[in-house]
Assembly symmetry: C2
Homo-oligomer: 366 residues x 2
């Protein structure tokens, strides 16, 4: 299944901050066909460093989508039955307007002048995309990690527009530890002299800082167990700046993944999006989560993974408790996995039956 | 109790690598008095970023030692009864020869030419210090984290010279995850252009990279719970490079601690010592831990803490199992604490009775 990235540009979007971004483009992909009743649309939300290419083979680079094991004919999100859409988030760097986009006021990239965006802003742009696609009501909004935050935000921002919500390995707000890991990544970027206060688009850019930020991320996405299984204490000869030397495999891996990330991700997007995640608080600063969910009408399926220490199960359970307190229709499954936070991307087998059954039941009840 | 740092310089030390470091100085402090029988000496081993100032008030800066809650008259390591010594490790930057020391061959700091040192080398220098102090046999060798690794190395390198060993929140070898966190710190330092390949002593030095490295460390020393209790999602106005702005308290804290660390720690020492920790493997690459402990004669007390996810209890339990397999005298306690890895520095109350009783029993049996 070869897929093409599409995009649509709107005149403007007003943000939670009160600022207006104008114009605003959103990049997206679609899989499957919208039915006549326009009742089979599912919105897939990507995680922090993801993009609109969730499934199929990209016509740009021949690479499979980041959730290709979950989206396709006969898969969990069955594209022979459903119309599946995935878009790059506002503030991102893969086709949607973000800090690297040209500011029409200056003719140069926004850089550090890109406005502060929230998860609610991301979701608002997605709602505009749904209008454009002729989808009034979504069968489901689903995603892992930051994707789950967006899905939860949909239930609160547009309670009439989603029949179901599937937050996976996610949270209704970041803990101090989650903020701390994001802050280390941001500081690694800001510490790089090539960051130039965010005005680096005519220079080399903060490649070293961004690579270090990504290395921290990768550790938090895996579990102690999965790192032991994948790397243990094995060593290998590796190319280093000072010639070949013997490194632990885990060191080589982190350096490789850090370097690889730099070629596909924008440092200002890194800062913009992690800030949106950290500030995200569905309940509001002094509010209760149950109150925030007061107007929710969607059915919920929450999933978490036993070895995920970055978004631990207790965070999913907090959401589930608040929903139960509101007498919402909510199912929760904690899946066994050794893969840590990455499990939501890897454990397709475990997730497929549960997601498929949940979507099927939701579709039948419409 | 005002304490003075002392030091002794030896003509040379031969390292595991085969290289010789000449001369070599070791900085140390002592608390209490060596008895006539020279049987009451305890060696305290510091953790990665620690130094010789374990107890009392330093005459240099008026600050208490890093384990002052555990060492002193009537405390766990009772200085009215025992003669307690703590020295800065080889490769360190607080008085003992390390990368920032002057290489007599060039008249300049060693920098990146400082030889590769191991935990066994650190312990060898401590044994030379014990000779200098007239201590043939130690009543105990004790320490947390990297201090515990050194204590274990004593039991293997000098089985006749220690009556007991107390490894706390420690391991006989780093996991892939522990190596990974250290590697991120090293890469943050190396990525700083002011690192200059380690030849930075005439320049500003990699202050930003070192601060980022320390920030990562601090997250791993705390637990999810203790960060929630200490910071939650509270915010505060903070001074930032771009003026005052509202940060999460955990962000301010990490920035502050990162910056503070730079003024007291040398980046080349950071790299040297974390490498020694990562390479440390008491069992040898393909050996069994039980075999490595074959000649051990010491009594052991191993402690771990429930919320310590950096040096989890299972690592202490691996050591305990191997010792039991050798029919060694070993006691193990997993202490309840929310403080994560920092618990060994904080939970004096929990540790005191156990350590005091263990030392007393060991002393009586001599």
């Amino acid at each position: 299944m070869i897929v093409q990235r599409q995009s649509v540009t709107f005149p403007s979007i007003e943000l939670v901050s009160g600022e207006t971004l104008s114009p605003v483009t959103v990049a997206y992909e679609t899989y499957g066909e919208l039915n006549q009743a326009r009742s089979n649309a599912i919105l897939i939300e990507h995680a922090f460093s993801g993009d609109a290419h969730a499934a199929g083979i990209s016509d740009l680079d021949g690479k499979p989508g980041w959730w290709d094991n979950m989206i396709g004919p006969g898969k969990a999100f069955d594209t022979s039955r459903y119309f599946v859409v995935c878009s790059n988030v506002l503030g991102g760097c893969s086709g949607t307007t973000g800090p690297a986009s040209i500011d029409p006021a200056t003719g140069k990239p926004y850089g550090p002048r890109f406005p502060f965006v929230t998860v609610a802003d991301m979701v608002k742009l997605q709602a505009m995309l749904m209008d454009h696609l002729g989808v009034e009501k979504l069968l489901s909004v689903a995603g892992g990690s930051m994707g789950g935050m967006q899905a939860l935000q949909w239930a609160v921002s547009y309670p009439e527009r989603c029949a179901s919500v599937v937050p996976i390995a996610s949270t209704h707000r970041h803990s101090a530890q989650q903020i701390a890991f994001n802050e280390v990544g941001r500081q690694a970027i800001v510490a790089d002299p090539d960051f130039q206060g965010g005005n680096y688009y005519e220079g080399p850019g903060p490649a070293r800082g961004l690579a270090v930020a990504r290395m921290v991320g990768h550790i938090t996405y895996m579990s102690d167990d999965s790192m032991r299984e994948k790397f243990g204490r094995r060593r290998r000869l590796s190319e280093t700046p000072s010639g070949e030397s013997e490194l632990f495999e885990v060191e080589s891996y982190l350096r490789y993944r850090g370097g690889q990330f730099v070629s596909r991700f924008d440092a200002n997007s890194y800062i913009t999006i992690t800030k949106a995640m950290d500030v995200f608080d569905l309940a509001g600063e002094n509010g209760s989560l149950a109150d925030a969910l007061l107007r929710c009408k969607a059915r919920f399926l929450a999933l978490s993974f036993t070895s995920d220490w970055l978004y631990p199960s207790y965070q999913s359970e907090e959401i589930v408790r608040a929903l139960r307190g509101r007498n919402c229709d909510v199912a929760y499954v904690e899946l066994p996995s050794n893969y840590g936070h990455d499990a939501f991307l890897i454990e397709a087998g475990e997730q497929t039956d549960i997601v498929r059954g949940f979507l099927d039941a939701t579709f039948r009840r419409l």
